[in-house]
Structures are given as C-alpha cells and as structure tokens.
Amino acid sequence: MAKLDTPALEQSFLNNHGKNPIRAWLFSTDHKRIGILYLLSIGFFFLVGGLLGGLMRIELIAPGETIMDPQTYNGVFTVHGLIMIFLVVIPGLSAVFGNFFLPILIGARDVAFPKLNLLSWWLYIFGAILAISSQFLGSGAPDTGWTFYAPYSTETGSNVVLAVFSAFVLGFSSILTGLNFIVTVHRMRAPGMTWFKMPLFPWSLYATAWIQVLATPIVGVTFLMIVAERLFQIGFFDPSLGGDPLLYQHLFWIYSHPAVYIMILPAMGVVTEIIPTFAKKHIFGYKAIALSSLAIAAVGYFVWGHHMYTAGMSGTARWFFSFLTFIVAVPSAIKVFNWVATMHKGSITVRTPFLYTLAFIFLFMIGGLTGLWLGALATNVHLHDTAFVVAHFHYIIFGGMGFAFFAGLHYWYPKMFGKMYDEKLANVAFVIIFIGFNLLYFPLFIIGMQGMPRRYADYLPEYTGGHFWSTMGAIVLITGALLMIYNLIIRTRKKGTPAEMNPWGGKSLEWTLESPPKEHNFDEIPTITENPYNY
C-alpha cells in the first residue's frame, strides 16, 4: 500500500493487517477483501489467457507454420479457452464486484456465509492450480478445446482428466458463490429495502446466482462421467463401450449455454448501475430490467440445442431450439432499449466508466445480433464451426462481459482503493482498447463467412488479409490493456489523488460510505425509503 495519506484510508478495510498481513488477507472472511483477492487472481489469469491468445494470433499471422506446430496450437487454444472461460469470465464480475458490492448495495455488513465465501476463493485457487498443472503434468497438454467433446476427449492421449477435474472443482466454487448470494439477497437486505427498491446490480447477481446453482451440477456430473470413462472405462459416451457421443453434447450444453448468461447478466447489471449515474436520470423501466434478468435466466435454460444444429438432431428439435433462441433475445433487447431510453434527455457527463459502458452497448449489440444469425437454422449450417462463431462469442464475452468489467473497474476503483486514477490516460487506454478489439475480431466475421474454419492452425492463402489485420488488432489491444493496467496499478500508486466519497455523484448506497469503506461497511445499517435511482 502506498503512503496512508487520508483518514479514510487509515480506518479502512484495507488497513487492518493484524500481526501477519499475508494471513490477514488470504484468510480474511471480509467480503471486500475476498473481492480484491478475486480481482487480483482473475486479473492474473486474464493476462495469462490473453498472452496465449496473442500467441495464437501470431501463429495465424501468415499461412503455414509460424511459431508453433499444429499440436501445440491445439494445446494452446484449449488452455486459452479453459482459463478464459472457467477462471476469468464465469467468476469474473460476480466474484469480484458481486463480492465487494452486493452486501454494500443492499445495506449489509457481509454476505450470508462469510466463511463459505472464503472457501469459494480457495476452491477457485485449487481449481486454477489443477488447470495450470494439467498443461505440464502427465502426457501432454489437453488438446480437446474447452468443450471436451466426446468421444475425442475419452480417447486422446493428452492429459484430459486433470483439466476436466479442475473444471469440476471450479464449478463447485461457482455453486457456493451462487448459493451464498441467493441467501444474502433473501435475508440480508436493509430494513425497508423491498425487492423493487433493490438496486439492479444485485437483481442481476440474484438471477445469475440461480443459474450458477441450477445449471452447474449438470456439467459437474458430466465431467465426472468423462473422468470415469477415461479411468474406469465406464462408457456413457464412447460408442465402443455402448455409449452415445451426442448425449455428451446435450449434457455439456445444458450447463454451458446458461453459463453464457452467468457471464453476461452481471455485466448487464454493472452497466445498469453506471448509466443512471452519468445520465443523472432515473433508470428507465426499472421493473422491466429487473424481471428481464430473471426471464433471461429462465429461458436461457432451454436454448442449449442451438449449439448442436449440425450434430444430428430431429427437425422438430431444431426449429424448437431455434425459436427459443429468438425468444431469449427479447429480454436482452428490452435492456438495451431501457439503457438507451435512460440516456435520452439525460444530462450526460462522459467520464471513463461511461465510455466503457457505451462501448459495451455497441459491442454487445453486434455480438447479440450475430448470435441471431447463428441461431437461425439455415444460416447456421453455413456458419457453423467457422471463424464467424469465434468473432460472435468474443464480441459477447470480451466485448460484452470484458468491457463491462473494465467499466465496473473504473467506476468502483476509487471506492475500492480510495484513490483516483489519471482519467485522461484511462481514456487514451480506452480508445486504444476499443480500436484494437474491433480490428482483432471484426475481420473474423468476414473470413468466417467466406469459410475460414475455427480451431485450425493453418489456412488457405485467400484468408491471409483478414488474419493479418486481426493479428494487428491483437497487438493494438494488448498495448491498450497494458496501458490501462499501468495506469490503474503503477501510476495510481505513485500519483493517484485521494478519492472523494462520491466522485461520480451516484445515488446508491456504496457512495454513502467512505472511500475505501470501513471493515464493517456501515456504522449504522441504513433504513431504505426510496428507489435507488432518484436523481
């Protein structure tokens, strides 16, 4: 920690070290500290995953072998997916900002089960260690892709068991976080805070938590089946042992499609907090936003088949899943409409978090609409397993969830650390990241439509242009991300100014606390009388 130069810092949760500072952090049950532990670990894995992604882009800069052979490439995209999905975006917003701000936003002193919360983080770290070691131990890095499709995952010689087991452990961690948040929202809201006086970020976390609890066990047992198949030859998926590979795909996507909403719902929640603060206007359609989160969580369960149109399902099943896929787009569109309507005639101040939020809406719309191309049966047959799919989900996951994460980070940074970063530099980093992102992923839409398959280490010369620009975009994006990290960590530590209590003029409860908050958040639990967005 930098020099303690303000009374707020002196009394804050950051400053209580006890006798052993490392112990005081690693075994703290304070939800704020656990949030920061998640922030640091997720940030680290984001860099590792990003580095692997960068290596893939360099390999693809020109046709033929550039820096790695195809088998290494298979390993690298598997690890990239494993790290980014299970270690970064699934815990992502809910573990970092959910942990830190859920109790504060509902006027509580901690989550319902603080010890369980700490256990979640330790399970996360344990799972992360397993995931990383699967790359080095045993018979070579897993090469199945993060989906572990059977029967390849039950036959390949690479170290699948450890990787799959790590995903199981991480799933368990995610279940415990979800369980904790559900009980917290039910039991710990401040007096007077009825369901419809609750801020919308907690609403989205609540919907997310239900998905975490209801969907994760299915993939958990599916992963156990893969382990059993490899270790004990209990073959539910391998045809030579009597099983059915298609069954694996169903069981996998029953979880892994809702998992997309585990990623995006908290992101939508963060954006919903930020927009009214900078538009200085009551959120438009409060109830519609709250309930659309639940609608997404509910309908999101029944669309998994759209990952499997070409895998061999009946025609009826296909149109059914396609229809529901279009239905699930509606509540997302409701949210976008409400965000834009909130800005309409507001007195907008454009600050760094707001820039990221605008970028989120733009990128999320591209990602969402291309999702409908993929959800439609006829276009899907053409686009299935092409780079178009890669571009689509990176627009949703990185452009959506990632940009919302950056927005939340810049929005709540002064509250979390009690320091204000250099906003000009933050804006420069934003512009570089935004340009780099689009340059990286947009060409993939085009070459995907022209027929470039995903997950290939090599390609025909006609795709060279698209791949070249995409790699350039990756370089720009990484530069911007490093600048952002430099600004938030190194520069702010040296030159950051003490943050005010309420730097953006927000109305929700976190802005009534010191920056950074005290260990027990509220000296006196507030009584809530009005909606959180009364500007």
């Binding site: 002193r109 039991r187 609890v213 209801l214 089946m225 059993a228 004990f232 539910f236 027990h520």
Partner: protein, 204 residues
C-alpha cells in the same frame, strides 16, 4: 483493531437452512444428470435393461433400503433429543445412525465384490461381450451406486463432526441448526437411494 466486531455477532439460522436447502437442490441436480442418462438409455435399450436388472440381488437392495430408512429416523430422533436437552440419548442415536451407515457400506462392499468376482465390472472381458444395453446398465449401476456411496461417506464424516459437537455442547437446544442441516443432508442421501433402489433393483 480493538473495536467490537459487529460481523461476529451476526447469526441467522433461517438463512443457514435456506442455504442447506439450495445445496440439496444442487445435489439432486447432480444426480439428475445421471437419471437423465438412465432415462435415455433405458428408453433405447429396454430389453437389455430388463435382462441385466435380474442380475442384481434384490434382497441386499431391500435390506440396504431398510437400513437407510432406519438411519434417517434415528437422525431425526437425535434432533428431538437435543431439543429436549437429552445429550446422551442424542449421542447414542447419532452413533446408531453411523453404525447403520457403516452396515450399508459393508453390504455394498460384498455386493460389489460379488459382482466383480463374477467378472461383471467396467473394462472386464465379460462386459465387452455383453449386449450394449446390458453393458450400459452395469456401467450405470457402478457409477450411480458409487457416487451415492461417496455421499454416504461424506454424510458419515459430517455426522461424526456433529456428534463431537453435541458432546462438547457447541450443538445444543439453542444452537441446533448445524445438526438440523446435517440431518437434512443425511435425508438427502437417503432420498437418492430411494430412487436408485427401484430404478436398478426393482424395475426389471
């Protein structure tokens, strides 16, 4: 820091129970994935499942069902005993529960080793010659009862910890939520068996 910590004073038994119920829900879904696999394959190979189910010993299955039902009853009774401040009876009842669980596991051990002795186990030569559906039935049998047995072991660990807490008085008639949650978990383990038993042993 020397201020009184309001975080430590927080206690919410109702919340703890809600948490346990949600956790039980996730456990049911975990087995739900297996029930789904069972349903799919049963539908596809009903003839083979019919033949294979005859191989299982319905007597041992019934015996184990009775044992688990009794153990659920003793756990429930131990809660009443703690509420009546009868610590000794509570400890005896929890002890009986643990013994019954152990008997269940011993039966399971003999059942499995008998099957393995006959050459019916995943990866055996005999299994490879079976009909596809029979192969899947036995794979499901081992996976489902194996995962269930794992839950019995976890439940036994939990109940042992609680037994010691009843003994040293940290679980008492005022602070009973831990025992209640442990009991809930034990009922869950029982409940899953109630579904496994007919699916594997009775429906032929």
């Amino acid at each position: 820091m020397a201020h009184s910590n309001p975080l430590l004073e927080h206690r919410d038994d109702e919340g703890a129970k809600i948490g346990m119920w949600i956790f039980i829900f996730t456990e049911i879904l975990l087995f739900g994935g297996l029930f789904l696999v069972y349903a799919v394959f049963r539908n596809q190979y009903s003839e083979d499942f019919h033949t294979a189910a005859f191989e299982l010993n319905a007597f041992v299955g019934t015996l184990n069902t009775v044992i688990l039902l009794c153990s659920s009853a003793t756990v429930a009774m131990s809660i009443t005993a703690v509420l009546k401040k009868d610590r000794k009876t509570a400890m005896i009842l929890l002890g009986i529960t643990l013994v019954l669980a152990l008997v269940f596991m011993v039966n399971k051990y003999f059942e499995w080793s008998h099957k393995i002795h006959e050459g019916i186990y995943p990866g055996s030569e005999l299994m490879a010659d079976l009909e596809r559906g029979e192969l899947l039935f036995f794979s499901l049998y081992y996976f489902m009862t194996g995962l269930h047995a794992l839950h019995i072991l976890i439940g036994m660990t939990i109940l042992t910890v609680i037994l010691f807490k009843v003994r040293n008085g940290s679980v008492n008639d005022d602070k009973i939520v831990l025992l209640e949650n442990g009991g809930l978990y034990w009922h869950l383990v029982d409940l899953i068996w109630i579904f496994l038993f007919p699916l594997l042993y009775l429906i032929t």
